[in-house]
């Protein structure tokens, strides 16, 4: 079984490995909670606050448990000119959630920054799966597989 200890053993306890280790733990467990962070802090011989200081800064390291349905949508200016905001509106209406809200424990809609896929915008990521050229009409079909 995968444990935090096993993951940590892949890294030398040097500070340059802190962020890669946090990313790997986040990928394995969904997020880096206080228990995990304490183990990281012990392994790297730094205070717990230092681990959270780094972990809380980066988008790709989550420090809270994530909902079972995580929808991320790019709102970069290129996607915005291709109706990304209308797609966001459509998802908000369909799922009865607001972009950026943390209140719903089952579903979350997150507006994110550019993914470098501008030619294929708007880009949407549902639980890690990337969908390109999304339109307000295609939202329903995509989400159906996840609800």
């Amino acid at each position: 079984m995968q444990t935090v200890e096993k993951i940590l053993l892949d890294f030398n306890p040097e500070l340059k490995n802190l962020l890669p280790a946090l990313k790997r733990i986040g990928a394995g467990f969904g997020y880096v909670g206080e228990k995990e962070a304490q183990k990281v802090a012990d392994y790297f011989s730094v205070p717990l606050s230092k681990v959270f200081e780094t972990a809380s800064f980066y988008d790709l390291v989550k420090i809270k448990k994530q909902p079972s349905l995580l929808i991320q949508i790019c709102s970069g200016s290129n996607c915005a000119t291709k109706n990304a905001y209308r797609v966001i509106c459509e998802i908000e209406t369909q799922l009865h959630i607001k972009a950026g809200d943390d209140f719903n424990s089952k579903a979350k809609l997150e507006v994110i920054s550019c993914l470098g896929q501008c030619g294929n915008g708007p880009v949407m990521i549902v639980n890690g799966n990337v969908f390109t050229k999304v339109t307000p009409d295609s939202v329903d079909d995509i989400l159906r597989n996840y609800i």
Partner: protein
């Protein structure tokens, strides 16, 4: 159309990016051999200085000067970092370089590292570019097998190791001091300068941070000489540049064009013109932090120039047509800067947030007198008082839009 000079894109689509043999077959790594066998770090640096190559990440700082200031440091440990943390909305040129020809980039990084005297180089790649990180990892291993990397490169006295460091989704880490903090396991917040990274950089040692596209130009300069490079494109900033054209154009994508080309030519000749049935409104040059070019600016030259009215930035060009709602673009810009502000300094953290709130109110049609006067204050504060240029970037496009399209912005559609 006359034959265009291609430096960076010449192998794209012609070779298999995963195979070092393909790159060797088209003359790859000959620049490295030439450097090792017949050049010294000093003479190679002279070539780069002659070439007039300047940083392709956005600021346009002369590459030769940056490398020189690291080269003349006497410290034993030095580092070279290739900045591939491309996260400007609308820019994906560096990703395309890795997809098209990773070994040319790698060769450039190796030569640059040897010039400054670094024995360790990092490639800081955007955390979302997982596939590209794998391509680079494979390329590094192939290069090591051929002894282009490692100890005694090509039987010389040079040693170099390259490590790939993936970021974790923070735009500000493209700023070089923030990038260095990030590798050191800290929050990716910018540092105070001076001291500049060229003196006190990664782990306190002299560090050169160069953009991936800048590094990709190096092999060509070593092979063909700095003078030949200086003859291409514009006088102020020679060479070719990758432009990313997107929005209301027929053929969106990455193109290589000589610097000094006009915006009009780029759109017409390289992107197939404006989409049928659409009308040019404005273009944003350089991603979300870029300025706006209107109809009358179409003749403007695309080059790196400190006095330029419209800075080139990363080379991303978004063409906007008249069907687009300006409120959505404002919301996109302000939302981006609110999310990506690192929070180190108050004017930026608060300013970007308030600007975003106002953009939301503008879209909902609930703007008040107080907001209108606040916009001016916020823009001034962002432009003049933030710790790093991020605040200035956040204000640039918004100010431009306000200046030119105030009628559309204050016309409350809903």
């Amino acid at each position: 159309m006359k034959k265009e000079i291609k430096i960076i894109t010449k192998n794209w689509g012609q070779i298999n990016p995963q195979k070092i043999e393909d790159y060797l077959a088209v003359g790859g790594y000959q620049a490295l051999q030439k450097f090792v066998q017949s050049l010294t770090p000093q003479s190679a640096l002279e070539e780069i200085k002659t070439s007039g190559l300047c940083g392709r990440g956005g600021a346009g700082f002369p590459t030769g000067l940056k490398l020189e200031s690291v080269q003349k440091e006497t410290s034993k440990e030095k580092y070279f970092i290739c900045n591939l943390d491309e996260s400007e909305p609308g820019a994906y040129k560096d990703r395309s370089i890795v997809d098209g020809d990773p070994h040319m980039l790698l060769e450039g990084i190796i030569i640059s590292s040897l010039i400054v005297g670094a024995r360790k180089a990092y490639i800081y790649i955007n955390g979302n570019y997982q596939k590209q990180a794998e391509i680079l990892q494979r390329a590094v291993e192939q290069a090591r097998d051929k002894n282009f990397l490692g100890e005694n490169i090509l039987d010389s006295k040079y040693n170099l190791e390259i490590e790939i460091f993936a970021g974790a989704g923070a735009y500000i880490c493209g700023e070089e001091t923030a990038l260095i903090n990030s590798i050191e396991g800290k929050r990716g917040e910018p540092r105070l300068r001076p001291p500049f990274p060229t003196q006190v950089g990664l782990f306190g040692q002299p560090t050169a941070v160069n953009n991936a596209e800048t590094s990709t130009n190096i092999p060509w300069i070593i092979m063909n000489g700095g003078a030949a490079y200086a003859g291409i494109g514009s006088k102020k900033s020679p060479g070719t540049k990758l432009f990313i054209l997107d929005g209301a154009v027929e053929n969106p994508g990455v193109v290589e064009a000589p610097l000094g080309i006009s915006l009009e030519d780029l759109i017409e000749k390289y992107a197939g013109g404006i989409q049928k049935g659409k009308e040019f409104w404005f273009a944003q040059i350089g991603g979300s932090s870029g300025r706006l070019a209107l109809q009358e600016d179409l003749k403007i030259k695309m080059e790196y120039d400190r006095e330029a009215k419209i800075p080139l930035g990363s080379g991303a060009i978004l063409v906007v047509d008249k069907t687009v709602d300006i409120h959505e673009i404002l919301l996109s810009w302000t939302g981006f800067f609110r999310r990506e502000s690192c929070g180190k300094c108050v004017p930026c953290r608060e300013g970007t947030f308030r600007l975003w709130e106002i953009a939301k109110r503008l879209q909902d049609g609930e703007i008040s007198e107080r907001d209108v006067s606040a916009i001016r204050d916020i823009l001034w504060t962002l432009n003049s008082t933030t710790f790093c240029p991020f605040g200035k970037f956040a204000a640039t496009a918004f100010s431009d839009a306000l200046q030119n399209f105030s009628k559309e912005i204050y016309k409350l559609s809903k």
